[in-house]
Symmetry: none
Subunit: 416 residues, 2 copies
């Protein structure tokens, strides 16, 4: 089978100036990798018509599939559509379906359609419109001489929605792709190199057509097993067998598979066990609640939270005693305990979890440096505590503590 | 003055597969932008010798300055170095100074020098060694036919140390560079196309050496004015004058300049006016608190929050009346009002803000579809409300409502 190669071109002076980080091309790479398309080159160029035309021409000379993101907004510095129209010699014409899309968006917001936005419904004649569910700029699909050029907006969530809903399915139909299966095992609470040591023997024994990748994230490592074959069913069976062999070795770290996030896994456990939860947050400032409530259907088990930044709120709303605060300080095991206990009782839930720490950049002491965080869980008549030392800047500390708190909940539920 | 153009080439299959996010090229872009070097193109390629040679050749045909990162580690490493050695026809020879550097690193860690690491001290004859203070792979500077190629390791902190200490100073000496100034104006609450219409006359009248770009984000648009000149002082004056002319036209949307985020701007306003704040969140689930507390020093004005997901919490903790909930529902102007009022009193703060809505994906009705959000602010004896309709998926709705809530706070503070 012939491999299908792609180039990804991201357009925008703001990328070249370094004012924004190009995350689009990484995301697109991942999606293409998943379906067996190989990326030859990713590049970022200036939003000038001639440069865009040159780049598309160069890529079409080398690969079958070219992705272009950016430069489709309604303003004057967005030139991609015109450049593609010129390059393919396809004059812009009003696309009725695109106009209807734009009109319906404006109707939804109760605003009159501007002339500039009406212009967005003009597309190169002969291109296929890709509906934009999240914005006013439609995408375009050019199918020319057995090659495909796709143009999408640079706004990440618009681009992602378009890729997922329309473009990836179209590509799978349009090209004959090898059978690639990815299986992702999600672990938490163990570093990449330790994990690698734990499973070295298993990994070394993998056959050549199965490859393992470590995808490290914040305090999590995803193991991705990739198989290539021309027999989907056999490959599926083989990979499942390999994973069954692996799992017992790393069970305590595994919280799920595939796209499941740790907060989703917790949600599943809470529903299974028919338990409810509430949080009392200080240093995490609502981020833990945010993670828990980002799960659809979380209102089934998540009742609410008290974010107690000011010490008076810890006392008044969570029942932390003035004596505890005075004697041990707000960042202490004792305060964490009283917070967890307090929120569980106040919200009348099964599980109360608390966080209290020093997010920084100020407020650290020698004894309690920035990044010191205490957390406690009150559940089933017991109080468990945990101290962590987070390594970074304010935002990093908030995120790291939150992931640790989520893992703390997971462990507690697994023991229950 | 002739402009100096640069290309940035990042090498590594892990970038093409999307396994790691290329942050190096953004950082290098920023540094170059600051000193007036224009980046023509950034690209990521596979670590294969021929592909590396081709890319360098292509770039040298177009620009005066080429940056290459990656492929210099001790394992696979010789690929980049060998490719450059082949391309420039400069055989590898032992560089005594590079050997001393590597030896001193190994001495520091008390380990014997391995043969692999000794190989790292071999550099193309005629290239200049760039000392690596943080690792064993030296950088290389090739100065050929009035053009320069720089090769650096891909490990971000090694690359950054090299750029800052050695390479940027060398570039400033080697090339005569223009002066570039960027000014960023941050707006909220107006879409890109409406903003473009509002300021069309001003934009059209800009002189040729000043360029405007629209950088849209979630419900925010940044305007970036870029000027090029050989007189910094004059350019600074001219750009300030242009911005002074622009501001009155868009004042109500402008919340700040440069790197300031909306939550930072609110923090500044609250501190200036010596006011305190607390939130009562339902649909935003803690994300609003997270945004407010992501600002260093926010404990000065942010007291805390109640996240009231379950209706019982709205009643018990925020004093929303059972009658209101029954008659108008949890997602209603009345409930939002009582929540805002309730949290202000409970937390003893100046400003109480509430959000209540349907984040989705379920729970929508014809009358109140997914994305319907009510918010209220209780401040200075008054109650203000606002209804928004958010357009997307659960996470998007949470983020969008939060930005809208932040803007609601900003507007209220500006009126105060």
């Amino acid at each position: 089978m012939k491999e299908v190669f792609a180039d990804i071109i991201t357009i925008g002076d703001e990328i070249l100036y370094g004012q924004i980080l190009d995350t689009n091309s990484q995301w697109i790479s991942q999606q293409l990798d998943d379906i067996g398309v190989k990326v030859r080159r990713k590049y970022s160029i200036s939003d000038q018509s001639e440069i865009i035309r040159e780049a598309v021409d160069e890529s079409l000379g080398k690969v079958q599939l070219v992705f272009v993101t950016g430069g489709l907004g309604p303003t004057k510095d967005d030139l991609t559509k015109k450049a593609l129209s010129d390059y393919f010699e396809m004059p812009l014409e009003l696309n009725i379906s695109a106009l209807e899309d734009v009109e319906s968006i404006f109707k939804k917001f109760g605003k009159p359609l501007t002339e500039i936005n009406r212009q967005q419904a003009f597309l190169p004649k002969g291109s296929t419109k890709i509906t934009n569910d999240c914005g006013t700029a439609p995408g375009m699909w050019f199918d020319i001489d057995r090659k495909v050029v796709v143009s999408m907006p640079g706004v990440p969530f618009e681009m992602k929605a378009m890729m997922t809903k329309s473009i990836l399915p179209k590509i799978k139909k349009r090209f004959q792709l090898p059978i690639i299966i990815h299986k992702v095992i999600r672990t938490i609470g163990i570093g990449e190199s330790w994990l690698a040591e734990e499973i070295a023997r298993w990994e070394d024994a993998l056959p050549a057509h199965l490859a393992l990748a470590y995808l490290p994230g914040r305090s999590q490592v995803k193991l991705r097993l990739t198989g290539i074959s021309d027999d989907r069913e056999l490959l599926e069976l083989e990979m499942n067998a390999q994973i069954s062999n692996l799992l017992p070795q790393i069970q305590q770290y595994v919280y799920g598979f595939g796209d499941l996030e740790i907060e989703d896994a917790i949600g599943e456990l809470l529903k299974q066990k028919n338990l409810t939860i509430a949080t009392a947050e200080s240093c995490t400032g609502g981020y833990l609640s945010h993670k828990l409530t980002s799960v659809p259907g979380s209102s089934e088990y998540y009742y609410g939270s008290v974010i107690a930044y000011h010490n008076s709120i810890k006392e008044r709303e969570l029942g932390v005693s003035a004596k505890t605060l005075e004697k041990h300080g707000a960042v202490s095991e004792e305060t964490a305990k009283e917070m967890a206990e307090g929120i569980r009782k106040k919200m009348k839930v099964d599980i109360g979890i608390s966080t209290t720490g020093i997010a920084g950049p100020d407020g650290g002491t020698e004894e309690k440096p920035v990044g010191t965080v205490w957390m406690a869980i009150s559940f089933g008549g017991k109080l468990k505590t945990q101290k962590i030392q987070s390594p970074g800047t304010r935002l990093l500390n908030i995120e790291y503590s939150t992931v640790k708190a989520l893992d703390f909940i997971r462990q507690t539920l697994n023991e229950a």
